[in-house]
Amino acid sequence: MGSTITEKILAKHCNQDTVSPGQLINADIDVIMCHDVTTTPALTMLEEKGLTEIARPDSIVVIPDHFVPNKDIKSADMVARIRRWVKANQIQKFYDLGRHGVCHGILPEQGHVAPGLTIIGADSHTCTHGALGAFSTGIGSTDLAAAIATGKLWFKVPESILFNLKGKLPEGVYSKDVILEIITRIGVDGALYKAMEFRGELIDSLSIEARMTICNMAIEAGGKSGIIEADDKTLAYLNGRYKGEFEVVTSDPDAEYSKTYDIDVSALEPVVSFPHLPSNGKKISEIREDVKLDQAYLGSCTNGRIEDLRIAAEILKGRKCHPETRMIVVPATTDIWKQASKEGLIDIFMEAGATVTAATCGACLGGHNGILAAGEKCISSTNRNFVGRMGSPKSEVYLGSPATVAASAIAGQITDPRKYLQ
């Protein structure tokens, strides 16, 4: 019996020939990602336990992103403390304001992700980085502290689910629609504890950024990780970014999967997930009611990359946001911001009546930078629409692709983006 890509990466990182699902292992961790909200508690724990030595400072990447630029005094204190820790321990990979961004935007963009690595982050969307063929998973603050101190972390080797994605996407339909459709089919715990492995004609046709959107939302199906084998596109993306050595790992033809889904996307439509679960997806043609919008939000680790901004700008160019719908654009990283500016995308957004802010997780998690009032409705390119996720527990979040967000901002209500792409 062969092994999956996930099993092979984990086996290599615990010095075993093979590992099996269910097995408990203590794995070496190549990359440890820290952000503001979950890292400060880890620092407290490490101090309390006297575990102040970092096992491998080189493995640590620090990216404050949730409440930056600092939203209040307590948040400022948190980042100030992280800054002191970074300095005291001479951590080199630190992305402070000015070169900052949403952690899952920065990590691959700045060359910290490569195939075959083990990556953990104290953030649930760390599964994003599986798009480059790495094992990458979200953990909590205690796990983070343990990994910082020991360079290792315990895992139960997950079973894998295989998603064979066939066909090519029709115009106006994007990888966000694909992952919302998958989550709607299998449910928010449809992949609980499992590695979600994506492959097939669709994946081959997608850009690396579009693949990241798919892996990013593995957690919204309960997944431990999302993963896609590296191909020529991956290697081209890594060229000039990743400085170290790496090994491309692939699944054996006779690897065992706990389940296999064959999904043809050729006839897929834009999908919008209604409150209050990502699995409440509806095909755009099936939405009968008018959902009037107070806000349209484009950004986040799911869909705040340059391609997402280009897609939205194509629709917004020469058009105006609805007078009763505020649009907020949050490029995910500083470099994305710069690129968008060079390409004239920022002008297009501003001319359309949108506002463009500094990179931050911000309103995606109801932190700051675009919080919703009671009764307000928002279409968002983000990943969660839980109760109160973007502000008031009485507000509503609808999830869609960047194209759907842009089109809906213009119409002032949830709208099929294909209307503006003809």
Partner: protein
């Protein structure tokens, strides 16, 4: 002291509901405890007492990795969360804190809020003293018991 059940017959209770992000600029247990379960049930914090049980359906603790969810519940006095199943990161976080997360299918349908509860970890039995019923749960794996015994993951790895 009698431990009371707080029953939520719902699946997918997420960590945003357990502790909303607006309170994540403070990671002290006392500060977080004041807002435990706020976006799910504003009355929870008024009725919860030391040693109480939270009992819910499938996929408890899904969503954000914030360990603050465990600290908010523990700070509010909760001793055990029993659910049909747990989301992965929340479960790790419970274990790593030496906090009891117990899988027991269907318990939220059999227990009512206010019922007096007891847990016997060694024998994997939950007792509903109000209804005079016992329920067996999936025993915690030895690895989990070792971490709990050590007082949490950091003490466990510290000892090793």
């Amino acid at each position: 002291m009698c431990a009371k059940a707080h029953v939520y017959r719902r699946d997918h209770i997420n960590t945003d509901e357990i502790i909303p992000a607006r309170y994540l600029n403070d990671d002290t247990e006392a500060a977080l405890a004041k807002h435990a379960m706020e976006d799910l049930d504003v009355n929870f914090i008024k009725t919860v007492a030391q040693g109480d049980f939270v009992i819910a359906g499938e996929d408890f603790g899904c969503g954000s990795s914030r360990e603050h969810a465990v600290w908010a519940l523990r700070g509010a006095g909760v001793k055990v969360v029993v659910a049909d199943s747990f989301a992965r990161i929340f479960y790790r976080n419970c274990l790593n804190n030496g906090f009891l997360a117990i899988e027991c299918k269907g318990l939220s349908q059999k227990v009512d809020s206010g019922d007096e509860m007891e847990i016997d970890v060694t024998n994997s039995v939950l007792t509903n003293k109000t209804k005079g019923k016992e329920y067996r749960f999936i025993p915690l794996p030895q690895f989990a018991l070792d971490i709990i015994e050590a007082g949490g993951l950091l003490d466990y790895v510290g000892k090793k």
